[in-house]
Amino acid sequence: MTGEFIFWLVVKSVIIAGIAIFFGLLYKGIDRKIVAHMQGRVGPPIRQPFLDVIKLMSKENIVPKHAIKWLFNAAPLICLASSIMLLLYIPIGGFDAILEGHGDLILILYLFAIPSIAMVAGGFASSSPYAAIGAQREVVTMISYELPLAVVIIAIAWKLSGIEGDVFSMAFIASHPIWQNVGILGLIGAIMLLISMVVVAPGELAKIPFDVAEAETEIAGGLTVEYSGRNLAMLYIADGVKIFAFASLVVALFFPYGIASLLSLNGVASIIADFLFFLLKVFLVMFFAVTLIRAGVARFRITQVVTAYWVTITLIALLGLVLLMWDTHFNVRWL
């Protein structure tokens, strides 16, 4: 590892932190606006999350008297930092990931667990019974969605393993879209994997109907009940960044297409067109995986979360995997 590499890594990390926070909050604002319209409300302006952060930063940063103070304060910081870290490994806007070649898809799966673990640690450290219940629920939710998520990742990697290359590399997956490597059975299988991934999203991002760990109406915010001021601002930003990162991952796995070549664009115009197209794809993924679902359904109970993920969604993902295997075995191609 050279000094030059480290210098550019530092510079790019700072830039990506800025991009992640800006787009995280922007998409959060869009999500809130659309949900409000779906529910017949005017809703807050799209810039509201930025205003919320500014307001939170000016509020008291209360630490409960029996809390483990260092862990309580460190958890939001680690949660946000690890959420931003995700974007160093995921291709954004038609470019390779900043740390491409330095970490693969399996690493991204593990990195997605860190923000949740940080929140669990912060919840347990806050000495509140509500937060403790929220932390328990977050652990159970994590156990639940990891299985179908792992099945989806393995299925895609297995299907691409027939092609020469590093199947867990994000650049390799992005340059070999799964839709171009399947027949009829494989297409149905890939759609089932996409559905599983879309349903995993609200669990991973603690959104309705899988937001049992926060559940404002039952446990007053659960994990975040004791957080306020700048600590809550960090968790608030992390929430937006995670949405952006997860939607970017879905785009990289399932829709890694650019638009510049289709429009015969070159140079700067092609970069801008691809980046804008990427933002549109991220918005569409967020809309179907988060906004639409959270506006349309009610919250599950914790036992229903486990059953939904371990039985229903895992079965759908496994069936998708089996169809991809049959697709390779029987090799049914398009007419």
Partner: protein, 110 residues
């Protein structure tokens, strides 16, 4: 670079980037208000005062939601783990036979 043959991870690059981003986040966080009133430190518990000691949650409670939803599975498992050594040995023999059949069926059956 750590490599397993399938996956890879450059831990040094991860640590460098993580430290840089932690510093950025720390700077943003330090722009916020630090102080708070002493009387606001009481944890929220719907207006009820919490006992003056740390609130602990037993480790057995952590997986409650999981165990509750998988009750059918755990009931069967608990029944099987009855503490009678003869039953454990029977299971061991049964599984060993199944494995042997699976491994050598092709060679034994014409």
């Amino acid at each position: 670079m750590l490599e397993t043959g399938f996956g890879y991870w450059d831990a040094i690059a991860w640590i460098v980037a993580f430290i840089v981003i932690c510093i950025v986040v720390y700077i943003i966080r330090s722009m916020g208000k630090k102080e708070h009133r002493k009387e606001a430190e009481e944890p929220f518990f719907s207006g009820v005062e919490l006992p003056d000691e740390k609130v602990h949650v037993k480790a057995s409670n952590i997986y409650w939601g999981f165990i509750e939803s998988m009750k059918g599975y755990y009931d069967v498992m608990k029944k099987m783990h009855d503490g009678i050594i003869n039953n454990y040995i029977s299971w061991f023999v049964f599984i060993a036979v199944l494995l042997l059949i699976t491994l050598f069926a092709k060679e034994v059956i014409p």
